[in-house]
């Protein structure tokens, strides 16, 4: 692992990945380039001042002016204008053995393309090979099956194993001390909040500070798992966490809390939920509890009489 990575061996616990990948429309200039690339041709585009941009963009990078519609054959041979050497590739890199990144200016172009440069088989951690030099002449290695992407060139120079480049990032997140403590409580079936020294209100879940007064909070208060629905929505679009459609999302003022929490309400037909309705948390069976808010499935009616609107109107 490169040293600028996280020095932790813990597994990641969060993945940011848009399912299926982003759908990028490319427009006429990049589109023409990628279409030609798929056919195995390298095309640059000419600016109004006569320069040939490669890879082509819709604008002169110096002035912002539109480029002309003249596409020009360039390369395929090109010259390395700068390079860096990767002794230990990342999993996001296109090659899984040591390789170079290079800026390559194809013959006939005035700008350079960034791409990977494969120089053969090396042990992980290898030093840059001597033949890797600025000024080196290189050619693209075309992928047999081309789809119209910059990866249609596998790399510049010989044999290689291509790896997909997914847009996936992994994290080891920390919820923070206050949230950790809150979830620790939830793991034991307790709902914890902090009382603010300034406004006296109980903040749940606590954050270690009062967002209103901007002061640190530390006085822990355990709250009951009962409360009052202040206001709610009937949702007719499915949600993985909800039992069925329609379902109710509601702001619930836990007894003793200064502010409401957004949660699901179930155990009652959606059209019978009311502002002021008394509810209690429906916990999952104790053996399923984890350090997560999911321990509470949703809130259900207690059957107590409704709280008058006047008593909750300052919480909406």
């Amino acid at each position: 692992m490169p040293s600028s990575d996280v020095p932790s061996s813990e597994p990641t616990n969060h993945v940011l990945e848009f399912p299926g990948g982003y759908t990028r429309s490319v427009g006429p200039v990049i589109g023409r380039f990628l279409s030609e690339l798929r056919d195995g041709r390298l095309k640059g585009v000419r600016t109004r001042t006569g320069r040939v941009l490669f890879p082509p963009v819709e604008y002169d990078p110096d002035t912002g002016d539109d480029v002309t519609d003249e596409f020009v054959d360039v390369g395929p041979v090109g010259t390395v204008t700068s390079w860096s050497w990767v002794p230990n590739p990342r999993k996001t890199h296109p090659l899984d053995r040591p390789f170079a990144w290079a800026l390559i200016r194809p013959d006939g172009a005035d700008t350079a393309l960034l791409h990977a440069l494969d120089l053969g088989v090396f042990e992980l951690g290898a030093k840059p090979p001597r033949r890797l030099k600025t000024g080196m002449r290189v050619r693209p290695r075309w992928r047999a099956e081309r789809v119209g992407g910059i990866g249609d060139i596998e790399c510049f120079q010989p044999e290689v194993t291509m790896i997909n480049a997914p847009s996936r990032l992994e994290y080891r997140l920390q919820g923070g001390r206050a949230l950790d403590r809150f979830l620790e409580g939830v793991e034991q079936g307790k709902i914890l909040g902090h009382r603010c020294d300034v406004c006296g209100q109980v903040i749940v879940p606590m954050k270690g500070l009062c967002p209103k007064d901007g002061v640190p909070t530390s006085e822990e208060v355990e709250l009951p798992d009962t409360g009052t629905v202040t206001t709610f929505a009937v949702n007719n679009l499915p949600d993985p966490r909800a039992p069925e459609v329609p379902f109710v999302s509601a702001y619930i003022l836990l007894d003793g809390a200064g502010l409401t929490m957004l949660a699901l309400v179930a155990g009652i037909p959606a059209d019978q939920v009311r502002m002021g309705m008394r509810v209690r948390a429906a916990w999952r069976p104790r053996e399923e509890w984890t350090r997560s808010m999911a321990n509470i499935r949703w809130f259900e009616p207690t059957g107590e009489p409704d709280v008058p609107f006047d008593e909750i109107k300052d919480h909406i």
Partner: protein, 348 residues
């Protein structure tokens, strides 16, 4: 222009590993400290810099607002950039003359994911990001171009890193890193691990004040005599990587680096100090990154702001009369901000 000064600067003791704090928890003590030091609890304007991709979820800046005490509601804005640009926005706002103080902050944790790969997401989505090229690999391309062009030996990079780490060990806020080893391998040649800014979690805040308010809040305000930022084309292949024309231009617009005694530069890689020294015409007499700089602590999104804070601290501490701070963004020094400060208020 209306005279505006840095009157206070606070930062976390940055950590090289996750200390279990959320971004908001990192930030809150810094805000508390800067309010205490200035005695100001309500600012005319507030502006922050942060990045959603550091935690892989949208709206980092929304939860950060909890640390500020935004009640009653505050006049506030946010840039999804290094907080040095938030400071620029606040400086512009102070020029209107309607408000006299501004709070600026930035925060970031790179301990939660591989930042060089997170950085890939900021690249051209058609030509660069699909290649999976990361921040270190791109920087190494620029390093190669510079070293070859100027016939500089790689050993010069190790000297820069060694000095940064030594200075960092003398700075309580920075990471305390060992001297570079003699046979460290390449991370991405020609860059070795010590040439790359470390994983860092941290936050920082600055208070700006205008005119008399600045004199009231600080004994020795660091007056901003010029601040400007400039960009270059995005694709590294469209640029001459051996120089930083946008830094040169920003410095010229900010009144130039003449007479500067200390420069805090946003050098996430050793070779960037050489390129920036050239672009800023900094002579050997100028102390560069006495704080240790980003090579000793790099809480991204706050790193650029910290440069301004550290440089200003030389003026408020009375050890320098004229200083320069630099911040950068994008691949291979694409975008650069220069802020020149002085103990003497300029005439505008």
């Amino acid at each position: 222009m209306r005279p505006v000064a840095v009157v206070a600067f606070a930062q976390t003791r940055h950590t090289g590993e996750d200390a279990g704090l959320s971004e908001t928890e990192l930030l809150a003590p810094v805000i508390t400290e800067i309010k205490r030091r200035t005695g100001v609890t309500r600012f005319g304007f507030t502006c922050s810099g942060s990045n959603d991709y550091l935690v892989g979820a949208p709206f980092s800046f929304v939860s950060a607002l909890d640390a500020v005490g935004a009640w009653p509601p505050i006049s506030e804005s946010h840039v999804e950039m290094d907080a040095a640009w938030a400071l620029y926005e606040a400086w512009v706002k102070l020029q209107h003359g309607e408000v006299d103080t501004a709070l600026v902050y930035g925060f970031g944790k790179t301990s939660q994911a591989a930042y060089p790969e997170v950085f890939t997401q900021s690249l051209d989505p058609y030509y660069l990001a699909p290649l999976g090229v990361d921040q270190v690999s791109l920087a190494a391309l620029q390093a190669r171009a510079y070293l070859e062009h100027t016939r500089t030996d790689e050993r010069r990079l190790r000297e820069i890193a060694a000095k940064a780490r030594a200075d960092g060990r003398a700075n309580p806020s920075a990471l305390h890193l060992d001297d570079p080893g003699d046979d460290d391998g390449y991370e991405v040649a020609p860059l070795r691990p010590h040439d790359v800014a470390p994983v860092t979690d941290g936050a920082a805040a600055i208070v700006l004040a205008a005119g008399d308010k600045a004199r009231e809040l600080a004994e020795r305000p660091a007056w901003i005599t010029g601040i400007d930022h400039r960009g270059e084309p995005h694709q590294p292949g469209f640029r001459d990587l051996t120089s930083s024309p946008s830094t040169r231009l920003a410095a010229a617009k900010a009144g130039g680096a003449d007479g500067v005694e200390v420069a805090e530069l946003h050098t996430q890689f050793s070779h960037e100090e050489l390129i920036l020294r050239d672009a800023l015409d900094l002579g050997d007499g100028v102390a560069v990154n006495p704080s240790g700089g980003p090579l000793a602590a790099n809480p991204v999104m706050a790193t650029g702001l910290i440069r301004i804070g550290e440089a200003a601290a030389r003026i408020s501490g009375g050890t320098a009369g004229r200083v320069l701070a630099h911040a950068t963004s994008g691949p291979c020094l694409q975008q650069n901000l220069v802020c020149v400060m002085s103990g003497e208020q300029s005439d505008g």
